[in-house]
C-alpha cells in the first residue's frame, strides 16, 4: 500500500496552490459567479501556458503532460480550495477523461491538443448524474436519427465548443461527439445552487453525432475517474473551510474568552479533523487506484462518499460556529457551503457510492470464489 507524495508532487502542489491563491481570490470568485460565462479567458490562457495544467493528465503525444490521476488530483484539490471558477472540471476533467479513455487516435489528435492548449472547450453530457447505471436512459443515439433526448444538468455546456454525449444505443451505452453549436442542440442555462459552477440543460433533436472510438465505453471507469477528481476538489474546499474556521475560533471572543477555548467546540473540531484526515487518505488512495490500479476497486467510491460527508459536515459547522455572521452573504463561508452541497450530490450521493462499494466487494468475492 503506497502512501504519500513524492517531493516533486509536493512541489507541484505548492506551485498550483500559489497560482490559484493569487489568481482566484474570493473577490474574483464573487465577480465570476455573477456572470453568465463564469470564468476568465485570460486566466484560462495562463492555466494553459504558465501553469500547464489544462492537459495535465493527457498523453504527451496529444499535447498533454503525461501525468495521471495523482497530479490531476493535486490540481483539483487546489482548485477546490480556492473555489476556482471555470470549465476545468467540465472540459479538462470530464470531457478530457472521456476522450483519453475511449477516443480513437484520430479523435484524440483532433481534439486533445486544442483542449490542452486552451483553445477548445468541451463538455461531457450525461443524462444522469446520480447513478452511472442510469446513463443513456434519457438520451438515445442511432445511426439514422443521431442523438435525441435531454440531459437536465450539464456543467459548462454553454461555454463548450464540443459536446461528448452519453447515449443509449441498440448495443448498450456509448459516447458520441458533436459540435456544441449544431442547430439541433438546444442549450438552456439553468440557475445553480452553487453559482461558481455553471449549469445548463442540453436537449438534442435528431442531432447528428459521431461515436467516440468504437461507440462502446467503460462508463464505470469514467465515473470512478471523475468521482476521484471531484473528491480531491472537495478535500481542498474542506481543508480551506476547516482552517478558516479554526482561525475564527482562535480570534473570536465571547464571554471574555476566545470561543475556541470552549470544550464543546474543541471536541467538535477534533471530530471534524478526524473525518477530514480519513477522507483525505481515502481520496489520495483513489487517485493511486485510478492512476495505477493500485489498491481497491472501490477506492473511488470510498473517496467520493467520505469526502462528500466530511465536506458537508465541515461546511455546516463552518456556518454554525460563526453564528449569524456565517449565514450572511457578505461572509464567504456560504460560497464553499454551496460548493459542498452541490458536490455532495454530483456524480452519486455518499449513499450511492457506499452501495457501489459493497457491490464491488461482492463482485470481487464472487470472482475469488469462482
Amino acid at each position: 500500500m503506497a502512501v504519500g507524495f513524492t517531493q516533486d508532487q509536493e512541489q507541484f502542489r505548492e506551485v498550483v496552490g500559489r497560482f490559484f491563491a493569487a489568481k482566484s481570490p474570493v473577490t474574483e470568485v464573487r465577480k465570476l459567479m455573477q456572470e453568465d460565462r463564469g470564468y476568465s479567458r485570460d486566466l484560462w490562457a495562463q492555466m494553459a501556458q504558465e501553469l500547464g495544467v489544462l492537459g495535465i493528465h493527457y498523453p504527451e503525444e496529444y499535447g498533454g503532460y503525461g501525468f495521471g490521476a495523482v497530479e490531476l488530483g493535486i490540481v483539483a484539490q487546489e482548485m477546490g480550495r480556492y473555489l476556482y471558477c471555470g470549465p476545468y472540471f467540465a472540459s479538462v476533467i470530464m470531457a478530457g477523461y472521456a476522450l483519453i479513455n475511449e477516443g480513437s487516435q484520430a479523435q484524440k489528435e483532433r481534439w486533445l491538443p486544442g483542449m490542452a492548449a486552451g483553445s477548445i472547450l468541451a463538455a461531457l453530457v450525461l443524462d444522469d448524474l446520480d447513478d452511472v447505471a442510469q446513463v443513456g436512459q434519457k438520451i438515445s443515439w442511432n445511426a439514422q436519427r443521431g442523438l435525441n433526448g435531454t440531459a437536465d444538468i450539464v456543467l459548462d455546456a454553454h461555454n463548450a465548443d464540443l459536446l461528448i454525449v452519453g447515449a443509449g444505443t441498440e448495443s448498450g451505452v456509448g459516447l458520441f461527439l458533436l459540435p456544441a453549436d449544431d442547430s439541433r442542440v438546444v442549450i438552456t442555462r439553468k440557475t445553480s445552487l452553487d453559482e461558481t459552477r455553471k449549469l445548463s440543460q442540453v436537449c438534442f433533436v435528431d442531432a447528428p453525432a459521431t461515436p467516440l472510438g468504437d461507440g462502446h465505453c467503460d462508463l464505470v471507469r469514467l465515473w470512478d475517474q471523475l468521482s476521484t477528481a471531484l473528491a480531491h476538489e472537495m478535500i481542498g474546499g474542506a481543508e480551506h473551510l476547516f482552517n478558516r474556521t479554526l482561525e475564527y475560533l482562535k480570534m473570536r471572543v465571547q464571554f471574555g474568552r476566545a470561543i475556541g477555548s470552549f470544550q464543546a467546540l474543541k471536541h467538535r473540531c477534533a471530530d471534524l479533523l478526524m473525518s477530514l484526515e480519513l477522507a483525505r487518505a481515502a481520496t489520495h488512495a483513489a487517485a493511486r487506484y485510478v492512476a495505477w490500479g493500485d489498491g481497491d476497486a472501490y477506492a473511488a467510491n470510498m473517496a467520493k462518499a467520505m469526502a462528500g460527508d466530511a465536506y458537508m459536515a465541515i461546511a455546516e459547522q463552518a456556518i454554525q460556529l460563526r453564528g449569524g455572521i456565517g449565514f450572511t452573504w457578505e461572509d464567504d463561508t456560504h460560497l464553499w457551503f454551496k460548493r459542498a452541497k452541490s458536490s455532495e450530490v454530483f456524480l452519486g450521493s455518499p449513499n450511492w457510492h457506499r452501495e457501489a462499494l459493497i457491490q464491488k466487494i461482492e463482485a470481487d468475492q464472487e470472482l475469488q470464489h469462482a
Binding site: 444522469d128 448524474l129 446520480d130 437536465d152 444538468i153 439553468k190 440557475t191 445553480s192 445552487l193 452553487d194 453559482e195 459552477r197 449549469l199 480570534m251 473570536r252 471572543v253 465571547q254 464571554f255 471574555g256 474568552r257 470552549f262 464543546a264 467546540l265 455546516e316 456556518i319 454554525q320 453564528g323 449569524g324 455572521i325 456565517g326 449565514f327 450572511t328 452573504w329 457578505e330 461572509d331 463561508t333 456560504h334 457551503f337 454551496k338 452541497k341 452541490s342 455532495e344 450530490v345 454530483f346 456524480l347 450521493s349 449513499n351 452501495e355
Partner: protein, 422 residues
Amino acid sequence: MPKESVMADAEVRETVRSWLTEHWDINRPLDEWRECLVDGGWAAPAWPVEFFGRGYSVEQAALVAQTFEEFGAVGPAQGGPRRLASHTLLTHGNDAQKQAFLRQILTGEHGWCQLFSEPGSGSDLAGLSTKAQRVGDRWIINGQKVWNTSAHHADYGLLLARTDWDVPKHQGLSYFLIDMHQPGVEVRPLRQMNGHASFNEVFFSDAWVLPEHLLGAEGEGWSIAATTLSIERQGFSSERSGGRAKNLTGAIYDQYRSELAVELAPYTWYPQRTGRVDLAYPRAKASGKIDDPALRQALAKLLSMKKSADLTEALAAVKQRAGNNRVSPEGSVGKLAASAIARQAAHVHTLISGAGAMLGGDDSAHEGVVAEILLSVPAISIAGGTDEIQKNIVAERVLGLPKEPRFDRGPFRDVPRNAVDN
C-alpha cells in the same frame, strides 16, 4: 355598564359586533380606521383604559380579536417589532413615554425596530459595546448594531447601549428609545446566504437621544431588555398569518395587504428554515425516491423526530397550562429538536433531489423551495440563540450540571473582547 372583567363571553362578542356594525366601513382609509379603533379602545382592549385600552383580560382580548376576524374587520397595526415596543413600554415606560408612543404604534403611524445584537456580541448579548455618553442635554450614541429586522422602515428603535464601562457587563447597560430619522443613524440592508435581505445593520455616529427617552433608569437596560426578549420568544406566528382579512375584497383590504406585504417580506423564507418536513413524504413519493431504502430510513427518522417533537411540545403546553412553571425538560429541548429536525429534513430533501440539488433559484425543485430549504436551514440552529447556548442552558438549568467558569465578571472595561469593538 357591567364591570368589563366579569363580562360574559357572549356579551363581549356582542359589544364588539355592535361597535363594528356601527363603525366598520371597507371604503374608509386604513389610517383613519385605525384612529377610530384606538379611540374606541378596540385596538388593544387588554391595555389599561388610560392608555387606549379597555382593561380586558387576555382571554377577553382574544375574544375581541376572534370577533374581528369573524367580522372581517382589520385590526390594529401589528408586526413583531411594534409589539416588542408596545409591551416593553407598557411594562417599563413612564406615563409621558406611554402617551408619547403607544398610540402611534397601534395606528401604524410609527414603525419600530429592535437594536440589541452587535457584530461583536452575538451569543454574549450583554457584552455589547455600543456606547451611550451623556453630553450636555443629550445622550450621544456611537457603535454598530446588526440583525435589525424592519430597521430600514422604522421610525423609532429600542436601543440597548453601554453607559458605564466600569461595572460588570450586565450592570452597565441602559435602554433608549431612539429616533431613527437623524443623520447619525445609517441603516444598511444585510443579505443572507439564501439571497434574501431580511435584516439590517445599523451604524450610529454621534447619533443622539433625548434624556426623556431613556427607558427606566440608567444601568437598568439589561433587566428591561429581558422583558423585550421574553416577548420575542413567544413568537409572532399568529400575527404573521395576516388572518382572513388578507383575502377579502375592498379598498381597506387592499391597503391592509400592502402593509402586510411590507411587514412580512423579511419572513417569506422562514418556513423553509424549518426544513419543510411537510414536503418530505410527498416529494419522495412523487419522485419515486421513496423506493430507496436508505432514504426510507432517513425519512422515517425525520418523521419520527417531528412527530415526537410535536408531542413533546404539546405535553409542555399542557404542563404549563397546569401551572407547572419550573423549567421543564419537554419545553427546553424543543429548540434543539427543531434544529435537529431541520438538519435531517435538509438531508432528506437532498437525498430526494439527488443531483437535482445542484440547481438553484426557480430551477430548483418545488418551484425553487428546495434550494431555499437547503440554504435556509443553517439559520435555525443560530437564530434566537445558538444551539450551543441552548445546550448550556439545558445542561445547567434542566440537568443541574455545574456552570462553566466565567471570565467576564469584572468591570467590563477589563473583559477581553473582540477587536472590532474597541
